[in-house]
Symmetry: C2
C-alpha cells in the first residue's frame, strides 16, 4: 500500500519499476521531475486517479475531489486550467442516486472553478471488479496571463530560474506561506471511515484553488507553489528542499492547525503535518513580497487562515528544521508512506 | 454492464445521468459531440479508462492497449499526439513481474508511436479494491501539420464543413474505407478468456495508428476518421450517419475479415462488425481520392488489408444498409451494448 502513498516508498517504487521502462523525453517540465504537472509544447498537463473511500465524506465527495485535485495541480504551476477529462470506472450495481449526486458534485465544482469537463470515458465492470467507483481526471492548462508579471516582480529581488512556479525554484531567503489549516482532509476522512467522531467538527477542505492562486500571481513575487496532498506539508517541504537544493527553517507554532485535528492526531499518534490536504497551497515567495501575498491569500475565502511559517535557508543538507512550541528543534522528515490510506 | 459498453445503452445512460450535471461549454469540439477527442483552445484532448481482463492477452496487454487506444483517439481527429498521461490504480499484491512487463509494454508502445508519457499518478488499493490494475490514460495533441493540406485536397471536390476529421463531416458520395480485418481484438480477448481456442490463430490488433494516419493526411481528401473500438464498425458507421445526417451503403463481402474470426463469430452467435478493434481506422474521404488513400494505407504494415467497403448516400434516415454475400440487403444496426465485455 505504501507504494501508492505519495511518499518516499512510492518514489522508490516508481524509480525502480516504472520510469526505467518509459522512453526519456525532452520537455520543459518532464515526467522525471515529478512536479505537479508536466509542460509539453506550452501545454500544462496533469492527471490524478481517485480511489477515495468512502465515496462521500464530510465536506466533499469523489466528484468534488477529482475536479479540485486536478485543477489545483495545474494552478500551482503558475498556469490557468482550461479543461478537464473524466474517466469513470463504475462497479455494476452502484446506487444510481449516489452516482448522480457525485456527477452533480463534479459539475458544481467544475462550474465553481470555471474549468469545463471536455472529454470522458465510461467503463462498467462487474460487481467486485472495482470498489464502487474510480474517477481518473486529467487536465490541460496554459501559462497564466499573470505569470510573467509575477516573475517580473520576483526578479526585482533575485533571479527566477524557472519559467514556472516549479518545485526546483525555491532559493535561500524565500518566505514559506501556507494558505490555511493543515490535515483537515485526511483527519475528516479517517474519522468518518473509522467512526471516531471527530468528523463532526472537522470537514475536508476540498476546494479548487485556481481563483485564489490567480490572486497572488497578480500581486507577484511567488517563486514556487504546491498543493500538499498525500504526505502533507512534510512531503511538500522536503520535496522542495531536495529539488531546489535548499534547507528550511520552519516555525512550528505559526503553522495553522484546527484544534480538533490536533486532538485527533494526538489520540491517534499521527503528525498533522504528514496528513493530506485537498484545498490548501504552500507558497514560496521572495521575502519582500511575503506580507502582500499573505494579504491577498487572506482576502480569499479559501485562504482566510493563511500564515507565514518559515523560510528557505542555505544548507549543505536539504532538510527541514522545525522549532517546536517548547522551543526545541526537530527535523521534519518526509513520510515514508501515507498514515491514512485511500484519502484521495 | 451495458451502460459502459460504448453502444446505445451507454449513450442513454450518459444523456440521462451524467451530462445534465456538467456545465455547458463552448469549444471547437465539446464533450456533448461525443467525438473521439475534444478540442479546447487548439488543444486536442482525450481520455480512456482501461479495465481489460485479463491484463495480458494474445497480441498485447493493458499497457500497449492504453497507449495505443488514447493515441488513436487523438490521431483520428486529424491531430498529432504530443504527450500521454498515465493514472495507475494497482491492487495490493499484484505480481511485480507482471506489473513491470506491463510498464515495459507501455514504454515500448510509447516509443513506437513517438508519444512520451509526460505525467502520471499512482494509487495502490487493498486486495479486492480493484481487479489487478486499472490504467487510465489521457493524451493531448495539436492540429496535424498535414491537416490543412488534407482539407485543401478535399475542397477541390466539395466543401469541408469541419476544421477536423470529425464525426459530423461525412457527406453523400464519400467513400468508406477500413484499414484492415475487423473483430480480431474482441475475439482474441473473448477466446483467450473463455478458453475457446481461437486465440491460437487470432491475435489482438492493438497498435498505435498515428503514423499510418499521417500518411493518408499527406495524400489528402480524408473527411472523417474513427477507430472502431467498442461496438465495432456497426457503431462507427451508425454514429457517422447520425452526426453527419447521411445514410450508408456498405458492400458486405468487401469487408476484410479474418477467417478464424468469422468461424468464431458463427459458433458464438456474434456479429464481427459489432466487435471492438484496437488497431484499425475507418476512413471517409472524397471519392476521387479513395484509391490513392487506399494505396497509402496498404503501404503501411497496419493497413496492408485495407479495403473500400462502401459509400455515404443521401438519405432521410441515418441508417446503414448492407448488401450480403447472397445478394440480400440488411440494416446494420448499432449494437445496444457490447457483446464482449471487458475488452478495453
Amino acid at each position: 500500500m505504501n507504494h501508492g502513498a505519495g511518499g518516499e516508498a512510492m518514489q522508490e517504487f516508481l524509480d525502480r519499476h516504472v520510469f526505467p521502462h518509459f522512453p526519456k523525453m525532452e520537455s520543459e517540465v518532464p515526467l522525471s521531475s515529478l512536479d505537479d504537472s508536466a509542460v509539453v509544447d506550452g501545454i500544462v498537463f496533469t492527471t490524478d486517479g481517485h480511489t477515495v473511500k468512502p465515496l462521500v465524506f464530510p465536506g466533499g465527495d469523489i466528484g468534488s475531489l477529482s475536479v479540485a485535485g486536478t485543477v489545483n495541480d495545474i494552478a500551482v504551476m503558475g498556469a490557468k486550467p482550461l479543461a478537464l477529462s473524466c474517466s469513470l470506472v463504475i462497479e455494476a450495481g452502484l446506487d444510481i442516486g449516489l452516482f448522480e449526486s457525485i456527477m452533480a458534485s463534479m459539475g458544481r465544482t467544475s462550474k465553481e472553478c470555471g474549468v469545463p469537463i471536455a472529454t470522458g470515458d465510461t467503463k462498467v465492470v462487474e460487481r467486485g471488479g472495482v470498489d464502487g467507483l474510480v474517477v481518473s481526471t486529467a487536465a490541460v492548462g496554459r501559462r497564466s496571463p499573470y505569470l510573467d508579471h509575477n516573475i517580473a516582480v520576483a526578479e526585482e529581488y533575485r533571479r527566477f530560474d524557472s519559467q514556472w512556479t516549479s518545485d526546483d525554484n525555491v532559493r535561500p531567503g524565500d518566505a514559506i506561506i501556507v494558505s490555511g489549516t493543515l490535515g483537515d482532509h485526511g483527519i475528516a476522512l479517517l474519522s468518518f471511515r473509522e467512526g471516531y467522531g471527530f468528523e463532526t467538527v472537522v470537514e475536508s477542505d476540498v476546494a479548487p484553488l485556481n481563483g485564489m492562486i490567480e490572486g497572488i500571481l497578480k500581486v507577484g513575487g511567488v517563486t514556487a507553489m504546491k498543493d500538499p496532498t498525500r504526505g502533507g506539508l512534510a512531503n511538500t517541504l522536503n520535496e522542495w528542499c531536495g529539488k531546489s537544493g535548499v534547507g528550511m527553517e520552519i516555525d512550528g507554532p505559526s503553522i495553522p492547525l484546527n484544534g480538533a485535528v490536533v486532538n485527533a492526531c494526538e489520540m491517534l499518534g499521527l503528525d498533522p503535518l504528514s496528513i493530506g490536504n485537498e484545498g490548501k497551497a504552500v507558497v514560496a515567495c521572495v521575502p519582500d513580497m511575503a506580507e502582500e501575498i499573505l494579504k491577498a491569500l487572506r482576502s480569499h475565502p479559501n485562504g482566510r487562515n493563511a500564515a507565514i511559517i518559515g523560510r528557505a535557508v542555505e544548507s549543505d543538507r536539504p532538510r527541514v528544521v522545525m522549532t517546536t512550541e517548547v522551543g526545541g528543534r526537530r527535523i521534519l522528515e518526509p513520510p515514508i508512506g501515507d498514515p491514512v490510506p485511500r484519502i484521495c
